[in-house]
């Protein structure tokens, strides 16, 4: 309909070039490297890797522990989402669930591992309380707990969002039609949520399968794919070809998972109209789900509690007297302060440039008549599929000889690509919903396209822009899998530093740094929410 403007084309070309250089090219190089051997090109790397018993065992272990975690996570996430959406439990408890569930998102996964060690380990908080070891935490059990905590927020959000699209009136209709509890539940809650439950399972599985932080801390001798990949690349005998093979193998379940997610989308119901409906009272239902969500929440808080206790006592768990010693030690260490500074810098740059790129890409896709704009959707599907470790590794392979190696820039770019999908979809969603005639109106009133974007489109999507900024910032702050192959001595960030510190058993430093990340993220979240509230009032 409307004609594409030159300025749209320029932005489009810049975005295309960025994605070709920092997403497509590295992945092609990775794939290529997995086939190259000293004798030429072939499948021999795959043969060697797959005949290696340790690796095949690691793959089996990864599948086993990730799927177990996904089952538990989906069940817990559903129970919490049900409690929030379909019961009449005390409102503050609902709010506590909605806020508390997000806590794990604010800390690096590697920290969970140490928190689990300090809670369930030989000298752990709960071990002391129960006066015995509850179970062996290094290996399967530790990984399982870690993965469940790690993926619970994401799974909860998927199911919780779908609950919003369920018309609760059907629950009442079903009751009026004489359905029993089970039939009513299956027809009005379970069936409409089937797609979301499947989605939560797949998401939880992929996240667990590709995470590096948790196995790096509590994996023990239990081999999983992520630790094998790390060993192949940064172990005692680095082998880039084998690393490339493992990365491709790691990509595979993620690929299947994304296809599954798209397939499951079909099971989702889309009601266009629904009204707020009062829920029927039920004492049993409410007390059951109230207790359950309280227990889940407390269990999670209990694991994280140690992170906030350990750094503030003299010598956890032997001498529990309050002390500032560990905090002041960290702040007096130039090394650790600069690492925290690096993290802040990387997160801020990722947030700023990531927001510009994701918003720009969404703007072109949602609100311009550009030809070929669908390419951006394909990029976003690719970034959704590629695990952080795989992306980081492919950067290492492509840029190892270039001047980008060991710079902050390469880390920032990797983060922007790694986390591109969600911000892009958020922006696209918001921009598509806006009145399609604004650009035409602006033009008729004398604006050029960029001016309308600046004067009309941007002010009406401020809230989404802030959301994208905080998403990028927080994720860049906590990611370890994406950056572990890219950091150098000068560009170490907190998450990768924690991985180093564990070899020197410097757990107090680990917890202080984790608390710092947590508080920084919390602060960013609060500021962003406050700004969003202001934007909302201003719009009313």
């Amino acid at each position: 309909m409307r004609n594409a403007k030159p300025e749209m084309r320029i932005i489009f070309i810049v975005i295309l070039l960025l994605f070709f250089a920092f997403l497509i090219a590295p992945l092609i190089v990775l794939l290529f490297r997995s086939f190259v051997t000293e004798e030429g090109v072939g499948f021999s790397n795959y043969m060697t890797s797959l005949s290696d018993e340790t690796l095949t065992r690691a793959i089996g272990n990864s599948i086993k522990v990730s799927s177990t975690a996904a089952v538990i996570t989906t069940t817990l996430a559903f129970a919490l989402a049900y409690a929030v959406n379909c019961t009449r439990i005390y409102q503050p408890l609902k709010n506590a669930v909605k806020a508390g569930i997000l806590i794990p998102m604010l800390t690096p996964t590697i920290t969970y591992g140490f928190a689990i060690m300090y809670t369930f380990g030989n000298q752990g908080l709960l071990t002391k309380l129960f006066d015995r070891n509850l179970f062996e935490i290094y290996g399967f059990n530790g990984l399982l707990i870690g993965y469940v905590i790690y993926t619970l927020p994401a799974a909860f959000l998927v199911i919780h969002n779908s609950f919003k699209y369920i018309d609760k009136k059907f629950i009442i209709v079903s009751k009026l039609m004489g359905d029993g509890t089970l039939r009513s539940f299956l027809n009005t809650v379970f069936r409409p949520l089937l797609g979301a439950l499947g989605g939560a399972f797949v998401l939880s599985f992929i996240l667990s399968f590709t995470d590096f932080g948790i196995p790096a801390s509590v994996g023990g001798t239990y081999e999983v794919v992520a630790t094998q990949l790390y060993q192949a690349m940064l172990g005692s005998i680095p082998d880039f070809s084998i690393g490339a093979v493992i990365a491709v193998l790691m990509l595979f379940p993620a690929l299947v998972g994304v296809f599954l997610l798209n397939y499951l989308e079909r099971f989702n119901f889309h009601y266009d109209k629904f009204s707020e409906t009062e829920l029927t009272p039920s004492k049993f239902r409410d007390s059951f789900f109230g207790t359950l969500s309280l227990v889940i929440l407390l269990a999670m808080v209990a694991v994280f509690a140690v992170m906030f206790i350990a750094p503030f006592v003299t010598a956890f768990p032997y001498d529990l007297r309050f002390s500032w010693q560990h905090i002041t030690d960290v702040f007096q260490s130039n090394d650790l302060v600069s690492v925290y500074g690096n993290s802040l810098l990387v997160a801020a740059l990722t947030a700023v440039f990531g927001t510009v790129i994701a918003y720009g890409a969404a703007l072109l896709n949602a609100r311009t008549p550009l030809r070929g704009k669908q390419t951006v959707d394909i990029f976003s599907m690719i970034t959704n599929t590629v695990p952080g470790m795989v992306l980081g590794l492919s950067y290492l392979l492509l840029f190892n000889e270039s001047s980008l190696k060991g710079t902050f820039l390469i880390i920032v770019l990797c983060n922007i690509m790694h986390y591109f999908t969600t911000p892009y979809l958020m922006a696209k969603n918001a921009l598509t919903k806006m009145n399609p005639s604004w650009e035409t109106s602006g033009e008729l009133l004398g604006d050029n396209w960029l001016k309308t974007v600046y004067r009309v489109i941007l002010p009406n999507s401020v809230s989404t822009v802030i959301e994208i900024f905080s998403y990028y910032f927080i994720n860049a702050m906590v990611t370890i899998s994406g950056v572990i192959f890219l950091v150098s001595a000068q560009t170490t960030v907190v998450a990768s530093k924690i991985n180093e510190l564990q070899h020197f058993a410097k757990f107090n430093e680990i917890f202080v740094l984790s608390v710092l990340i947590f508080l920084t993220n919390l602060l960013v979240r609060f500021v962003c929410e406050a700004l969003q509230k202001r934007a909302a009032i201003y719009k009313k």
Binding site: S437, S441, G442, E443, L444, D447, K539
Partner: protein, 250 residues
């Protein structure tokens, strides 16, 4: 005077408009009337310059504007959903265009438009706080401030209810007269078209079915489509009104 010469348009092989040929005199109100999918909105967008035509010419005051871009054509439109900017208040919406062309309207003139559309009490309101009729008037004001040479209105009454509809109708007539502004209105409602306009262009399946004054259309319908689709509706409405009030009010 606006002249459309042989305008044709296809979308993906499908003919949307065919050989549209007509003249509209200055200051006239003309309605484009037809069922949905008849091509009337496409024709409006072609006149505006938003949609490219495949064939034909648009002559405005003896000047061929066929290849003049939307922005430079000097026409303006009020969209069906008004497309007001929700982050600005009513007044900021009205003067939006003045930031770009400061000399189009003086402060005095802006106040006149605002007074004329009776918007003074609503200027500080957010768009979300305005009623449908108020939004329509703000959108009209925003457009009029740019002093368009031709005013295009896309379904201006369809989102409004009862009494407001009639008052906006009168307002549009007044605007055309007061500013001697040629106005083209898209509508699917025969009653609306016949009561607001000087001439009506009835479009069916991309072709002109009839072009004439309300009197001509009522008394000399040129084909079955006009009779069946346009007049039939009005006759049923008339019958309903008779039934309500009795024949004596006929």
């Amino acid at each position: 005077m606006l002249e459309l010469k042989n305008i044709s348009k296809q979308f993906d092989q499908k003919v949307v408009l065919e050989n549209i040929d007509l003249k509209i005199n200055s200051g006239e109100i003309v309605s484009l009337l037809g069922p949905s999918g008849s091509g009337k909105t496409t024709l409006l967008n072609i006149i505006l310059g938003l949609t490219r035509m495949d064939q034909g010419k648009i002559i405005f005051n003896d000047e061929d504007v066929s290849n003049v871009g939307m922005k430079n054509r000097g026409f303006n439109i009020v969209f069906q959903d008004y497309a007001l900017f929700p982050h600005l208040n009513a007044y900021e919406n009205i003067v939006y265009g003045l930031r770009n062309q400061k000399d189009t309207a003086s402060a005095e003139e802006v106040r006149e438009y605002i007074d004329f559309l009776e918007l003074t009490p609503h200027l500080k309101k957010r768009i979300g706080e305005l009623s449908g009729g108020q939004k329509q008037r703000v959108a009209l004001a925003r457009t009029l401030v740019t002093k368009p040479k031709l005013l295009l209105l896309d379904e201006p009454l369809s989102a409004l209810d009862g009494v407001i509809k009639e008052s906006i109708k009168e307002r549009i007539k007044l605007i055309a007269k007061e500013f001697n502004l040629t106005t083209i209105i898209v509508t699917h409602d025969p009653e609306e078209a016949l009561t607001i306009s000087d001439k009506i262009l009835i479009i069916n399946q991309g072709n002109i079915s009839q072009f004439g004054t309300p009197f001509e259309i009522i008394n000399q319908p040129s084909n079955d489509f006009v009779k069946e689709f346009i007049l039939r509706q009005l006759q049923i409405k008339r019958q309903n009104i008779y039934n309500l009030f009795g024949e004596k009010y006929a």
